[in-house]
Amino acid sequence: MNKKTYSIPIGPVHPSLKEPMTFNFEIYGERIEKVNLAPGDNHRGIEFMGRQRNPIQIIYLAERICGICSAAHPFAFCQAVENAAGIEVPERAQYIRVIIAELERIHSHILWAGVAAHELGFDSVLYLSWRAREEVLDLLEYLTGNRINYGIFMIGGVRRDISEEQLPRIRETLEYYKDIYGKIEDIFLNDPTIAFRTKNVGVLTKEDALHLCAVGPTTRASGIKKDVRQDQPYSAYADLNVEAITPDVFSGEVNGDVYDRIIVRLLELVQSIQIIEQCLDNMPSGEIIAEKKLVKLLNQLKKAKGEGVGRVEAPRGECIHYVKLNESELPEVWKARAPTYNNLMTWVPMLIDQQIADIPIVIASIDPCIACMDRVTILNKNNGQKSMLTKKDLHELSVQKTRRITP
């Protein structure tokens, strides 16, 4: 049978995408037959710039990999450098780091809930949820001095302490979220229209999620209990009870659809509030940074040699930073892998056989962060043409590199 498909390009500048990214859909009737992704519009060459700056300067660059994950990236980067240089972080600093990271998760998940509602056409929910989000931004500003890009992380600790007087203000905000959580849950999980638009839409099966190495709420919604905070607790998470949340806690079943992703993110809101409360209750006293004098710290890093890895559960999933220090001011290698990079390919099984009108919500359902993800493209500088590397080419490159670095 001759099936004639037509193609719809979406992006890089498109109202349903807040960030530049190009999609190409092959459509048969209303059904999506094929999906092609073409990232690279947001590539800023951050790792390249990082290799020309010293580790303390990189923290601020890492923060600006993504404005929404501006705690997760510096968190992972600092961990990687500490790991490489063998710096021990004071316990109090670890707790403060966790508090900031969890506050970020609250803001990010509410932001996502608003965006998802907007994609479904519920603009009033977008406005209400973003109004609720302002409270946590106020708290973050109160604690760190900025609404976004907090600038609180430092190698070996944090730059600002949480004082005794600040605790009631934190608890006040947490109470506010506990109060309104019932409303948020009611709007998203009991509304028949939202259920109608999201149930059995954009299904990611457990096999696909495992096969594509999906991370974060995307994979947990498919029934895989994967969470760095649980599997390999870093920082203060080792003292806290964190368990990966799967949608069967709430609904008793796992479908891996958009509805399940909503469930996971909403339940994680409650989890984050509990984690912060535990942190506030058990906060140890003491120093907040291993080395206060930056010049001394830089000198220490200059002499350090070794490799380090930092793993952090960002709001979107696992974020890995790799750093190699080689007795010089500048790091030899800095590699950042953001969660959206893993989740990107899950769009393909999710979108196949869906309708065109479901594209925005399915795309939004993994909470994509293109700014995080766009890190590597192969660009031919002479003619500006992008070249695709096949497996054979990659193998060839790999062999060449082995020969190059072997003395």
């Binding site: 519009d41 947001n42 590539h43 990999i65 929404i68 932001l111 406005y127 973003w130 302002e134 609404r147």
Partner: protein, 149 residues
């Protein structure tokens, strides 16, 4: 110039992301949502540059977006104003020495208002939009007088 006298039209804004880190983008949306509520003045985000009076550009211009920025600018009808939000669109910011970034937005398209900050607060963005509004009203006024002649 008094704004009230020329308060005749709603201002429609098109948001163009040219490789920004999301920080400014979420602050723009925060400016539109209830706490700051730009929409009470009739200012709203539209889906196409062809409907827009003002271009709100965030981010340094990456080489892949270079051509797109120019095209979006050309698609916006006259009279128009361009606002650059954020340090990296204004000067390159932290991304000043990248190989894939053309620096600042004003190297690519003419810019009327700069809103510095990384990211700027929603109040600053609202102030920037107001400046662009005043500029647009001036432009409209001069176009009207030119037509009358």
């Amino acid at each position: 110039m008094k704004l009230n006298k020329y308060f005749e039209r709603s201002l429609w804004v098109f948001h163009l992301n040219t490789g920004s880190c999301n920080g400014c983008d979420i602050e723009i949306v925060a400016g539109l949502t209830p706490r700051y509520d730009l929409e009470r003045f009739g200012i709203k985000l539209v889906g196409s540059p062809k409907h827009a009076d003002v271009l709100l550009v965030t981010g340094p211009v990456t080489s892949k977006m270079l051509d797109r920025v120019k095209r979006v600018y050309e698609q916006t009808p006259d009279p128009k104003a361009v606002i650059v939000v954020g340090a990296c669109g204004t000067s390159g910011g932290v991304f000043y020495n990248s190989y894939n970034i053309s620096g600042s937005v004003d190297k690519v398209i003419p810019v009327d208002v700069y809103v510095p900050g990384c990211p700027p607060r929603p109040e600053a963005i609202i102030n920037g939009v107001l400046q662009a509004w005043i500029k647009l009203e001036n432009l409209r006024e001069s176009m009207k007088t030119a037509q009358a002649k």
